[in-house]
């Protein structure tokens, strides 16, 4: 039974309203299936592009910028600030941790282009979509039989849309080749979980953690699995380990609190629930946990407080969940989810040297689900890589229509316009965005940098930097303003701005150094926008 709980508001704060979460779960609550971190090709790809944009335009001209763009276009960048969640990325991670790795996509020899077995007319009904999806997944393996990433795609297709037994078999075959292939281990853990083999699931998740020890979210997954398997002491140890490395990990706090409550360590449970609550005061589960521990600790007043909060929050959760169910569309959900998987399959094609195949798949993905941002991001990145900025702009423009309030894509289009010597178009894009959203801090900053670095109009840059300060008077905003003033030749104002930045962040040595330089009247170095985050 296809179940969808669009209100599922996990402790990571991902209030996932997408249809993606709805397919492939047999849980009535829609929370049953823990996907093996649904890969998102373009997240990794465009994260790099976004990084480029974040460092804004002057960086564009550097050799490093060109190199990164090229990597992004290839879909093989490894410098993303985000965790690499894709299969390929994971494969790369696994390779780095395993001497036994014998097969990778990058080792696959480039062969003649293949055409993915896409139906002539994009299917609409979910059985047809799934039929096509299975053909594509199977062909991927057929053409790249040595590629573990291709098998990972095939297994994931089966897990989410087809036969979990087959998924398990495929993942097992991957493990037979590379015992440290993390996504296969996670997949096997997921299959074991839904089959009720909770101890086996723990073993798989533990192996995944050993293969990729720096991935904390996976350790939280292991902690939850241990909790489910009633291995409470181990669960406590694992989750405590996560918090030792990431004290602000809300999910780890919540899960550890649940473990401690089960161990009857109520005061410690209370403490972790309270810490989690500071970051996620709107999460009903935390309040429920606190109701229980406070009542058992005898503090009825506190319990009553959290009960009232829980009731208030739960109303919204329920309303959202029920609304989601009523609006749920099976065909659309399948198209959405298969489309997402196509993006990841395209990445495998790309890594195997089948660029044309990848593009075809991405095009299909973008058409199957009009809101498939990932596909468009990947197509944009591919176009950049092929030196087709207009194509890239077209894809980014479509994304921008889907996410009109996200300046990331506007900024990227502006960057591309600059690259092809069309700064007027870039300015038009950015200014119209800011005109429609004058309170958008990041857009203000981007426009300020544009006027400074591209237009060499520091006065206009100052105007927008000042607006950014009005919106958010942070140290980085003042540092940015200082750089604008300095470029405009207003050294005293630059110093005043930097003094503000130092006041706000006295421990930031870069601000102090820049201030010292300015005060010395040095004109050798411009003020760096030290620590400014876009």
């Amino acid at each position: 039974m296809s179940e969808h709980d669009p209100s599922a508001n996990d402790v990571n704060g991902s209030n996932d309203d997408t249809l993606a979460n709805s397919v492939g779960t047999s849980s009535r609550m829609g929370t049953g299936v823990r996907r093996p971190n649904v890969p998102s090709l373009a997240v990794g790809v465009l994260a790099t592009v976004s990084l480029v944009a974040a460092c804004v335009f002057h960086w564009l001209r550097s050799e490093a910028g060109k190199e990164t763009l090229q990597r992004a276009a290839n879909g093989m960048d490894t410098s993303s600030v985000n965790e690499r969640r894709t299969a390929i990325g994971q494969g790369a991670d696994a390779r780095s941790t395993s001497a036994n790795q014998t097969s990778t996509a990058s080792q696959t020899p480039v062969a003649a282009e293949v055409t993915p077995p896409l139906l002539a007319i994009p299917p609409q009904a979910s059985p047809d979509v799934l039929h096509e999806g299975r053909l594509v997944a199977d062909q991927l393996v057929e053409f790249m039989p040595q590629s573990l990433e291709a098998k990972e795609m095939q297994a994931r297709f089966e897990y989410e849309f087809g036969d979990t037994t087959r998924a398990r078999q495929i993942w097992q075959s991957v493990i037979d080749v590379n015992p440290h292939y993390v996504y296969a281990l996670v997949g096997l853990g997921d299959v074991a979980t839904i089959e009720g083999q909770l101890q086996a699931a723990v073993r798989y998740y533990r192996q995944a953690v050993l293969a990729d020890p720096n991935n904390l979210s996976r350790q939280v997954t292991l902690g939850i699995a241990l909790l489910h398997a009633a291995q409470l002491d181990d669960a406590k140890q694992v989750l405590s380990g996560v918090l030792a490395r990431d004290p602000k990990n809300v999910q780890a706090h919540v899960e550890l609190a649940s473990v401690l409550a089960q161990l009857q360590e109520l005061e410690a449970a209370r403490e972790h629930f309270e810490i989690a609550l500071q970051s996620k005061p709107e999460l009903a589960e935390i309040h429920f946990g606190l109701i229980n521990v406070y009542r058992r600790l005898g503090n009825r007043e506190k319990a009553a407080h959290h009960q009232a909060e829980h009731a208030r929050l739960q109303k919204d959760v329920v309303a959202k969940r029920e609304r989601g169910r009523r609006e749920y569309n099976d065909d659309r959900a399948i198209q959405f989810d298969v489309g997402k998987l196509y993006v990841d399959m395209a990445r495998v094609y790309l890594a195997g040297g089948f660029r044309k195949s990848a593009e075809l798949l991405l095009l299909r993905a973008s058409r199957m689900e009009p809101e498939n941002v990932d596909a468009r991001q990947a197509l944009a990145a591919a176009a950049v890589g092929q030196g087709k900025p207009f194509d890239a702009i077209r894809w980014l423009s479509e994304i921008s229509e889907l996410r009109p309030d996200d300046v990331t894509f506007v900024r990227e289009m502006a960057r591309l316009y600059c690259q092809i010597n069309r700064p007027d178009d870039a300015e038009k894009l950015l200014t119209s965005f800011v005109a429609e959203r004058p309170q958008h801090l990041v857009a203000r900053r981007a426009l300020a940098m544009f006027f400074l670095e591209v237009r060499s109009q520091p006065e206009r840059a100052v105007e927008h930097a000042q607006a950014a300060i009005d919106l958010s008077p942070t140290a980085s905003s003042f540092a940015m303003l200082a750089s604008m003033h300095e470029a405009a030749g207003n050294l005293q104002q630059a110093i005043e701005s930097l003094k503000k930045a130092v006041e706000l962040e006295p421990r930031n040595s870069s601000y102090q150094q820049a201030l010292a330089l300015l005060r010395e009247g040095s004109d050798a170095k411009p003020v760096q926008n030290g620590g400014a985050q876009q």
């Binding site: 296809s2 979910s126 087809g162 649940s258 109701i291 058992r296 829980h310 969940r321 169910r325 099976d330």
Partner: protein, 575 residues
Amino acid sequence: MKRKVFDQSAPAIAAVVAYCIFASEMPRATAQPQSITSASSAPRQSPIILTDVTDRTGIDFVHTDGSYGKYFLVEAMSAGLALLDYDQDGDADVYFLNGAPINAKSNLPGAVNSMFRNDGDFRFKQVTRESGVGDDGMGLGVACADFDNDGFVDIYVNNYGPNVLYHNNGDGTFTDVTHAAGVSNGSLVGAGAAFFDMEADGDLDLYVGNYIQFDPALHRVHIHKGLPSYPSPLSFSPQFDTLYRNNGDGTFADVSKESGIHAVAGRSMGLLAFDYDADGDSDVVVANDTQENFLFENDGKGYFTEVGVQAGIAYDYRGKPQASMGVALLDIDHNGLLDLYFTSFSEEFATLYTNLGSGLFDDATLRAGASEATFPHVKWGVVAVDFDNDGNRDLLIGAGDLDDQRDKRGGVSKSTAFRVPNVLLRASSNGTLHDMKHDWGSAAQVSESTRGLVAGDLDNDGRVDCIALNARARPTVMRNESELRPYLKLRLIGTRENRDGIGALISVERGGDRQVMQTHCGNSYQSDCGQEWHFGLAPGVGPIRISIRWPDGSNQSLELAAPPTSVVKVLQFSP
């Protein structure tokens, strides 16, 4: 004001035993009680053996959910069943609910609720027509009790559509008195139901669970993994339950609003009434599908406040709502406080809430063990009975996916398919559970899609047997062939209150071991196990002390020198 569960200042034991009838009614000739193994202070573990004897019972009932490819959610929920001694011949008869096509022009011929008379030795006879209880509605839940205190058990059927109240005429026949009694409950989608005396006035009131606000015209078939599937309950708005107050004259009044029941709407499934906070009145616990469970606290006068969250039974230990299905009552840790066990959907544990006292429960599922055994299944009926008479109530759980297309989607296991074996968890005296896997007799090998599940000593041999109602299939009749060990079976007869003594709290002590149970109507998944209360006595030696706190607050005690070999009927003391 809280009262003690048992008044320790009650008069000395034997002195207050006014009437204690050691029933001489024996089972039919072929069902003589077996000789009982000597009790020992440290009971050894003996196998639990439930044998599938369906084929030899004469029960030819085949359940239908009325489905015809439209995938109405209500079909998948299907039905419960009941054990009741309708003819008062001393053995439990069985009443099966049946389904009907939804939104169809005509019903399936012969698809009616069915009564089978127990003729002893696991032989049953179809008596639906002569008893007059063959309702052809979409049967979902059932509750049986003597609502008019005439000494004969009556039947309430909770349908999708108008409900039915069958009055037992005392001659083997029933009369439909629904409209006269005023309990048809409109055309709602039913669920569990329970008779209980909410204000201790001596007659039984009626709580009627309602599932969802369902309109066939708004229904649409969903697709999952390319195949049609049922919609989620969340696709439908929750529904208010209904509470009927017994007027004492054969009629009922709908007091749902003024009683506070309508303060919250849910997606009711199994339910039962018991005194969760030991304040002397019966509260109502409702297992809700895909949302928080409800616990309606009774103020003793029939006004209810929903306290599920503060009591700790609304959500599981991680604060997640479950798709709760059935509910059972037991004292798993022998602390004298009644615990709750809920069944739930797949990838959810069946959840054990232990009673900490002071109206507070704790999700002890993980600590009790065997949670893994329940995780993959869709779980429905549940009975908490002592199969091996070792003094601990074991849990038999009915299982089976709700979706008949489940198997075609691939990846099903013997836990997750539409038809799967049921699950038996054996309880230990320390409150832990152990998964018996498939090692509990031939009934463990039966793969069906169980919904309702009831337990009772069908052959009066001192061992609790079971019957499972299986969706779209024949039921499974399970004969308990475990080693026979000492037991006690009680049947209460109220004189100053409801005739069945529903709501009485029973305490049985022997050799330092104490067991408690509150008599209740309606339990498991929308089912009813009847009013015979069974206690295994193997762990103890010496006399058996029985204490009963009747719903009116009076206490009654009696002592038996040795385990009886047949049912003990306890007539309420009349001062």
